[in-house]
Structure formats: structure tokens, C-alpha cells
Amino acid sequence: MNGRRLYEEIGGVDERYLQQAAAYRARRSAPAWRALLIAAALTLVGALLLCTIAASVTIGVLVGILGEGEEPTPPAPMEQMELAMQEAQQKRTPYSADEVEPMLFHQPMLIFSEQGSDAYYTVSLSTSECEQLILMMQSKNRTEFTEQSQAPKYQIWLSFGDGVVVSPYLKNTAGNTGHGEVFDYDPELELGDALAERIAAYIET
């Protein structure tokens, strides 16, 4: 019964290591052909972007020359995201938590709900969109949510489609995970502009 004895002893290891082993998920490496495709797509997007910038600059110069007024300032990403959510509330079907929970086992999706409301709205995502959000959520540049931070108007969750639900407002640990349910939470991290912008884009499309 040595195996059993050793197994029991392993039960006493440092809890720090157990937490680490519970949270660990290796990043999926994309195959080489996918990397090539992504590089080609990025080159194309880059070229288009350059053309757009060149056109905008030309138009801007012309507008400036002709003295035609100033461009309106675009909303900040957080505002943009909240506006997108506000609009989506008008267009999309509201669900209760009980109705949302079975959906968590079907496909990746973004879920949001206005603070204090019982209505939940869902936005279907592809696996790669879901992965993109996860990668952005892991950014080390995200800042802590403090008392000075502006309280978010919406709660947001990301469902992987297999019953696992996380919130981009929470730190990236295995603990910050709901299993088969949307859950209440206090924000721990600021979303950051890039993440807010991406979420807005997924809601708008």
C-alpha cells in the first residue's frame, strides 16, 4: 500500500502549488499554416489601413483648407461599449438567469446585464472570438479596480460554451470561475480600452 501512502502524503503539499495547478492552462499554439494565414491577413489589413489613413489625411487637409469645422471627438472605449450595450438592450431578447444558464453549455457567448437588473442579454461568439477575449483578459497591463474607479454600469461574463463562465472584470485565476451559472461579483480589474473596444465591436456586429 505504498502508493496509497504516498498519495495521501501528496495531499499535504503546499496550498500555493495546488492553487497554481488548478489555475494552469497551457496556451494553444496555432499551427504554422494558420500563422501564415494570419500574417497574410494582417498585411492586407495593414495596407488597407495605410490607404485609409492617407485618404483621411488628404480629406482632413482639404477640409482644413476649406475651413469646414472640426471632427466630433469619438466616445472613449468604455463609453462606446456601454452605448453598444444600451442599444443592444433595445434590440436583443432579455433573458432571466434561469433561462441563460442552460445556454452556457451550447456555444461561447458574451453575456451582459445592467447593474441591479434581472435581465441578461447574450451575444454569440465564435471560438476564436472567445479566445481573443481570453487573451486580452490575460494582459498584465490591466489595472486594479479601486475605490476611485468608475463603477461599471454593466456586469459582463464570458461563457466558454462548456459551462465555464468568467468575468473580464475579475482576475485571471481558476477561482474566478462560475460553473454553469452567471454569478454576482465585485469588479477586481479595470477593463482597459482595448478590451472594452473589442467587446463593443462584438456586441455591435
Binding site: 505504498n2 502524503e9 494552469y24 497551457a26 499554439s29 481558476a174
Partner: protein
């Protein structure tokens, strides 16, 4: 909710502590238990027992890593349940016991039992010496009792590679234990 806040709820004897533990760690606890006891129903009962055990133990203890603390509780409770249910069939955690069988010599005498105290220390130093990836693989197999396929999926590597890493880790552990005279 952060671990610290949940632990504070336990200390304040607020039942919300159990709800929050369930939200945060319920899935992990159920999976760990099921890999030991083998049935969904038994795992469900073990998880409920674990909440009760945490509730009863918390005024004395203040764990820093609540996830690790709950993982230890659920593992112990599930092992006891496994003993009660023990089927003759070779399955689940029994396979893990067999894998670890060769790493340790027999303890028969009180003197040898005394040496067991060194075992925990040697295990800690063994885990400390591993890089993160290998440590995770070792603990996923021998603490959380994950299957090889589950570890391969988590680590994004082939099952063969996981098996060979585990084989080498068992060899290293056996050597370390021998060197420590355990």
C-alpha cells in the same frame, strides 16, 4: 469574490461564505471528488460534506489559498468515501496508487514510521525543484487525480508526452526519496 473576503465571511459565521465557495470552487471540487469516488452522486455528497468541514474548521484556520484549502478537504473526504465504497474493480484512483507504488519503501517498524516525517519535507523540496509545467502535471495527476487525457488537454500536449513526463517525474521522486532515506 476574493478568497480573503470569503474567508472573512466564514469567520463572521455568514452562510454566504458557502455560497461564494460554491460559486468559486464548486466545479473544481466536484471534478476532484468525482475522479476519486467515480460517481456523480457520491461526488455531490462529498462536496456538501466539504462545505460543512470548511464551515467547522474555519474559525480556527485562516487559509491564504482558499482553493488549495478546499482542494485538500475535498480530497480527504473523497478518499474516505472511496474507502467505504471500495470496489474490487481496478479503476480511477486505484490506478494512481499503483503508479506511485514503486516510489516508496515499506514502513513496518516504528523507526521506519518515524522516517515518514521526512517524507513531507522531501515531497515539498521535490516539488520546489520542478519547473511550473512539470509541477502542474505531477499535481494534476497525483493530487487532483486527473486522467492522462485530461492533463494532455490542459497542457496542450500529447498523451504520450504526458505519460513520459510522469514516468520521469516518478523516477526523480523515487531517487530523491531514496537519497533522503525515506
Amino acid at each position: 469574490m476574493e478568497d480573503k473576503k470569503i474567508v472573512e465571511l466564514y469567520w463572521a459565521r455568514d452562510e454566504e461564505a458557502i455560497t461564494q465557495t460554491s460559486v468559486k470552487y464548486g466545479g473544481m471540487m466536484h471534478a476532484t471528488s468525482k475522479s476519486i469516488v467515480g460517481s456523480h452522486e457520491d461526488a455531490e455528497e462529498c462536496v456538501n460534506d466539504a462545505y460543512l468541514a470548511a464551515w467547522n474548521s474555519m474559525p480556527e484556520n485562516r487559509p491564504t489559498y482558499l482553493g488549495g484549502y478546499m482542494a485538500k478537504i475535498i480530497r480527504n473526504i473523497s478518499l474516505n468515501r472511496y474507502d467505504r465504497n471500495h470496489a474490487a474493480k481496478r479503476q480511477g484512483v486505484q490506478v494512481v496508487f499503483e503508479e506511485l507504488e514503486g516510489c516508496l519503501t515499506d514502513y513496518n517498524t516504528p523507526e521506519e514510521e518515524y522516517e515518514q516525517g521526512c517524507l513531507r519535507e522531501t515531497l515539498d523540496s521535490f516539488l520546489e525543484s520542478l519547473d511550473e509545467q512539470k509541477r502542474v502535471i505531477f499535481l494534476r495527476r497525483y493530487f487532483y487525480t486527473d486522467s492522462i487525457a485530461e492533463i494532455a488537454e490542459r497542457m496542450q500536449m500529447g498523451e504520450g508526452k504526458v505519460k513520459s513526463i510522469l514516468f520521469r517525474l516518478r523516477g526523480q521522486l523515487a531517487a530523491k526519496l531514496k537519497e533522503a532515506g525515506v
